[in-house]
């Protein structure tokens, strides 16, 4: 199917599902139409992209190698990766204590320390999000979604930091990361290698 056959509303739906990996719930007319075109797969309440759907979104989002905003985006992305590592480490600490036992959230001091460190990460991502949005308007909504997750976390529901089943801070962050990779046209393996290089470089 060529991309001309996908209308704007369908395109938005498809991008969202590829970035998120899936959607759950009742299939909308857009979902049905995309499924008929072989771009989505609907399995019961689960809606997943097909390899063709993923490839199409990749083509549509990827910036051309000579696009003027690409260089600045890459520079900001280089600053993003070490913060990305910190966020994943923080989520890991939220789920597991340093000795490998599961964090059952019965130690307010431990949780408070992690929540406090999350502010450092949120402070660090704030200027990067601003720049991402300036260069690629598609990336605008992430600030709001991260703030929403933080607000819900602070309202007392621990799930809003790292639960994969809701738009928690980590879930939104993961969507942002995936969106960036699709926009840059970078594979996961390249991304991992670059992050390692940047982080170990910083550590000296």
């Amino acid at each position: 199917m060529s991309q001309e056959q996908v209308n704007d509303a369908e395109r938005q739906v498809l991008v969202s599902i590829v970035v998120r990996g899936m959607a759950r719930g009742e299939a909308s007319p857009e979902h049905q139409s995309l499924a008929e075109s072989g771009l989505l797969l609907i399995k019961g309440p689960m809606i997943m992209p097909t390899p063709a759907g993923t490839a199409l979104v990749g083509e549509q989002l990827r910036l051309a190698a000579d696009a003027p905003e690409r260089e600045r985006l890459m520079a900001t992305f280089h600053r993003f990766l070490p913060v990305n590592r910190n966020l994943r480490d923080l989520c890991t600490a939220w789920q597991m204590r340093p000795d490998g036992s599961v964090n059952d959230h019965s130690d307010p001091s431990y949780d408070a320390e992690i929540r406090d460190r999350l502010d450092d990460i949120d402070d660090a991502i704030a200027p990067l999000l601003k720049r991402f949005a300036e260069d690629v308007p598609d990336l605008t909504g992430y600030r709001e979604r991260l703030t929403e997750a933080l607000d819900r976390l602070d309202a007392g529901d621990n799930a809003w930091l790292a639960s994969p089943l809701i738009d928690s801070y980590h879930t939104v962050w993961m969507h942002l990361h995936q969106h960036l990779l699709l926009t840059i046209g970078m594979s996961r393996a390249e991304d991992e290698a670059l992050e390692e290089q940047l982080v170990s470089g910083n550590h000296g």
């Binding site: 590829v18 970035v19 998120r20 990996g21 899936m22 797969l41 399995k43 019961g44 689960m46 997943m48 992209p49 993923t54 900001t76 600053r79 590592r85 994943r88 480490d89 989520c91 890991t92 789920q95 597991m96 204590r97 340093p98 000795d99 490998g100 036992s101 599961v102 059952d104 130690d107 307010p108 001091s109 431990y110 949780d111 408070a112 320390e113 929540r115 406090d116 502010d119 402070d123 704030a126 200027p127 990067l128 720049r131 602070d154 790292a162 639960s163 994969p164 089943l165 928690s168 980590h170 993961m174 969507h175 990361h177 995936q178 996961r188 393996a189 991992e192 910083n202 550590h203 000296g204």
Partner: protein
């Protein structure tokens, strides 16, 4: 925030605080830790505490200069000066509070750089590390000390890659836009740094952290200032050592070290393993053993090392550790005579026991290891290989357990991860997005199994000599990071030596007996292995299901006495087999057998077609009940079918004779009649059972010893306990039914539809089915206990509902003076510990 008045207790050099009569209120936690380290008589960092009352004054340059002068005279060197081997003496400012707290300002490292510039001529790596540290400290001073907007600092951070140039730009911005110029000398930097730390401590963010920890909003802050040397010396560096192996729990100092200076406020965990430390670890081993004894916790020390040896620079007590560590520590401290056995028992909590006995792969040594990777999400799983999300979803839909095996994980793998029972990835670390997601979903996972090659086109997974296809079964252990070919048994592990020791000490402390609910030989054997003193409840219901169902149906639905007698005789025979197996596992211990107590509908044909004949079908229809749980159940069924309980006890008595004559064991039989609410129900059953006992004795010449008792599971039975006790030698509280009937709750309905709302609205604080109602249900139990003992003071009293394994309920049983609790075999260790805790700290209702 109200400030305490400045009472000049001076600046307190590390090691001088206790002798000046100061404590955590003014020295704060880090000050006390440094006193503790200094008390070991070993070299500690050159530093001082600015006690709580003096902290507000530290924002003035004069006071800051006084602190620096004191340290310079102790160190014998000026801040900012070079050392003999080319190092640079600088200051580190840190903060702590009178109690351990999260949300403290981070350390400001590298204070004392003249003009705020990195001196020229430093080796490249040292220069880079120092510049990064100074940038962080200088940013904090600029933001909080000089009030430069955070946006300005962020822009510099993003736009100027070279750190030295960035620092220069920051100083310019400060001078142009700050409330004061950037301080260029050590005292000015320290005063601004102190101001930065106080501002940070008074920020909304820090206030939120205190609130989350339920600490006072005006919790004060202490500051600590110490010297350190920035050096590039080959034999100098820093590290940390922990007293115990956090995986095994054993005393085994471990940790890491790295060359260079402590550039960050946070502990660096990456580096060389501790056992390679120049100069060895014997001193640290001694220090950690001594500290564990003093602190009665796992100890962690931070140290610097150099040509002159080790300097201790920090201490942390790890009070919250895994169950494995907690039990090993408690046993070691008691064995060393530092604490005692009761203290060790008190230190271990029921969740520790559950954690240690959580099911995990039981390895026989014959497993075929497929691959190893990083232990990314705990737990174990067995399932069929799926290589894509689609495959995983499809396999799971067809009812199979699935392990998703993928090279790298992207959000596209989410559906597969949800469908799978476990996840195995080739790339990614234990902090990858995939690992975070797997943990968030509670799925065991191994990440970074680099030895695995996936060929999606061929549908294979290979590692070394193993080539597996999609659909093949593998097992993964997310705790060890190992994957196995085929199915590995996942079972509850044996208690460790440390846990067994603590439990045996708990046995010495507790008054309550601990028995288990077990219906089969395997369950009984597990219960005995876990330390049960007997069987508190053997349910006979399941013995009547499956291929025995036609027998019981013939008893209930029979229309001629002959076929009922034949069915009862066959029942007695199969029961004899059942009980023989169970008794064999129990030795001479008490075994309480509850006679049949199932709602009648469980035995009736569901459809007329299931009946053996038309008569059975009609009979079944006529026996339909509106409310089977309150219908012809327990003793009521036995009253209508008088041959039923005699057939059961005949089987039981014969089984006892079998094991007694063949194996020489003599279990203490306790025959329990269920759902009694009228004392004469018990009396009539007692007569029937005694008659069978005599008949067996006449036939075999063996008088089988037994006790008879009843369940107390209706409010009426509780109120009539004195009359029941006239014939009952024991009473066992069936608290599941007693709770249902006391509240008038139908458990399933209430738990499904109502409990959540009641808990939310505070009408209940816990499910009364999980945690015994301490007032209503326990009140009825108390009446029953008092009335029963008034008639028969030595009557044995127990509890056999699920509550028997719940620590809070066990505490209530202790208060009520019951003789024993009975719980599921797996909960026995928890009950042993909880019973000991209940003896040590009786509930005060």
């Amino acid at each position: 925030m109200p400030q305490a008045p400045i009472d000049d207790v001076g600046l307190v050099p590390f090691g001088k605080g206790f002798e000046r009569g100061l404590d955590a209120r003014s020295l704060c936690t880090r000050g006390v830790q440094m006193e503790t380290l200094a008390g070991l008589g070993l070299p500690v960092a050159v530093g001082l505490t600015i006690p709580v009352p003096n902290v507000p004054g530290m924002v003035t340059v004069d006071r800051a200069a006084a602190a620096i002068n004191l340290l310079e005279s102790s160190a014998g060197r000026l801040v900012g000066a070079r050392t003999d081997d080319g190092g640079l003496l600088l200051l580190r400012l840190s903060a702590s509070a009178p109690v351990a707290t999260a949300g403290l300002p981070v350390d400001l490292v590298a204070i004392g750089l003249l003009n705020g510039q990195i001196p020229s001529g430093l080796p490249e790596k040292m220069h880079a590390d120092l510049a990064n540290s100074w940038w962080k400290s200088a940013s904090a001073i600029a933001e909080f000390g000089c009030q430069v907007p955070n946006d300005e600092i962020s822009s510099l951070d993003l736009d100027i890659a070279d750190v030295t140039q960035r620092i220069a730009a920051l100083i310019t911005v400060c001078n142009d836009k700050g409330t004061q110029p950037f301080p260029l000398d050590a005292a000015g930097q320290l005063a601004a740094g102190a101001q930065a730390m106080l501002s940070r401590w008074n920020s909304p963010r820090a206030a939120r952290a205190r609130r989350a920890q339920q600490l006072p909003a005006d919790l004060p802050l202490g500051l600590h200032l110490e010297t350190f040397v920035v050096t590039d010396h080959n034999d100098a560096g820093h590290g940390h050592a922990i007293s115990r192996d956090l995986t095994t729990g054993q005393f085994a100092p471990n940790g890491g070290f790295r060359h260079g200076f402590r550039a960050s406020g946070e502990r660096q965990t990456i580096g060389h393993p501790l056992n390679l430390l120049p100069g060895g670890v014997s001193m640290l081993t001694g220090v950690l053993a001594e500290l564990e004894g003093r602190l009665q916790s796992v100890a962690l020390v931070d140290f610097d090392y150099g040509p002159e040896g080790l300097t201790l620079v920090g201490l942390e007590e790890l009070n919250r550790t895994s169950a494995r560590v907690a039990t090993s520590l408690a046993v070691d401290l008691a064995t060393r005579g530092i604490t005692d056995e009761r203290t060790a028992v008190a230190a271990i909590k029921p969740p520790h026991v559950l954690e240690l006995l959580h099911p995990r792969p039981r390895l026989t040594g014959h497993e075929q290891q497929l691959v190893t990777g990083l232990a990314a999400s705990p737990g174990a799983a067995v399932g069929r290989i799926a290589l894509t999300s689609e495959e995983a979803v499809e396999l799971a839909e067809s009812g199979d357990s699935v392990i998703l095996v993928s090279a790298e994980t992207t959000p596209g793998d989410l559906p597969g991860m949800m469908a799978a029972v476990g996840i195995l990835t080739v790339t990614g670390g234990s902090a990858s997005h995939a690992a975070v997601v797997a943990r968030g979903m509670g799925r065991p996972a191994i990440c970074g199994a680099g030895g695995l090659v996936i060929n999606r086109a061929a549908g294979t997974v290979s590692a070394g000599e193993h080539v597996l296809s999609r659909g093949d079964v593998i097992s993964i252990d997310g705790d060890s990071g190992t994957a196995y070919v085929g199915e590995v048994a996942i079972e509850r592990p044996e208690p460790s030596f440390a846990l067994s020791t603590v439990l045996s000490w708990a046995d010495d402390v507790r008054r309550l007996g601990v028995r288990a609910n077990a219906d089969t030989r395997a369950d009984a054997a597990t219960a005995m292995d876990n330390g049960a003193e007997g069987i508190g409840l053997c349910r006979t219901e399941h013995m009547f299901l499956g291929d025995r169902l036609p027998l019981i149906r013939r008893v209930i639905l029979s229309h001629d006495p002959q076929s009922e007698t034949a069915a009862l005789s066959a029942l007695a025979d199969v029961q004899r087999e059942d009980f023989r197996e169970l008794l064999l596992a129990c030795g001479d211990r008490p075994v309480t057998v509850r006679l049949l107590d199932a709602p009648m509908h469980e035995f009736l044909p569901e459809h007329p077609d299931d009946a053996e004949d038309e008569h059975q079908a009609k009979m079944a229809e006529s026996l339909h009940e509106e409310n089977p749980m309150l219908g012809v159940r327990g003793v009521r069924l036995a009253m209508l079918h008088e041959g039923l309980y005699p057939a059961q006890v005949e089987g039981l008595f014969n089984a006892w004779i079998d094991v007694n004559t063949q194996y020489g064991i003599a279990p203490e039989l306790e025959v329990m009649v269920p759902l009694v609410s009228i004392p004469d129900e018990l009396l009539m059953m007692l007569r029937l059972i005694r008659r069978v006992n005599q008949e067996v004795a006449t036939r075999t010449g063996v008088v089988v010893p037994f006790k008879i008792g009843t369940m107390v599971e209706t409010p009426r039975a509780a109120l009539m306990a004195d009359q029941l006790a006239q014939s009952a030698e024991f009473l066992s509280f069936g608290t599941n039914d007693l709770t249902q009937l006391t509240y008038g709750f139908s458990r399933d309905d209430v738990e499904r539809r109502m409990l959540g709302t009641y808990l939310e609205r505070g009408l209940l604080t816990a499910s009364p089915f999980a945690e015994l109602d301490p007032i209503g249900v326990a009140g009825l139990m108390q009446i029953a206990v008092e009335r029963a003992r008034s008639v028969r003071p030595d009557i044995k009293l127990g509890i056999c509902g699920e509550h028997g394994g719940d620590p809070a309920s066990i505490a209530i049983c202790e208060r009520l003076g019951l003789n024993y609790v009975s719980c599921s075999p797996g909960r026995v260790p928890v009950a042993r510990l909880a019973a000991a805790h209940a003896s040590m700290h009786p509930a005060s209702h």
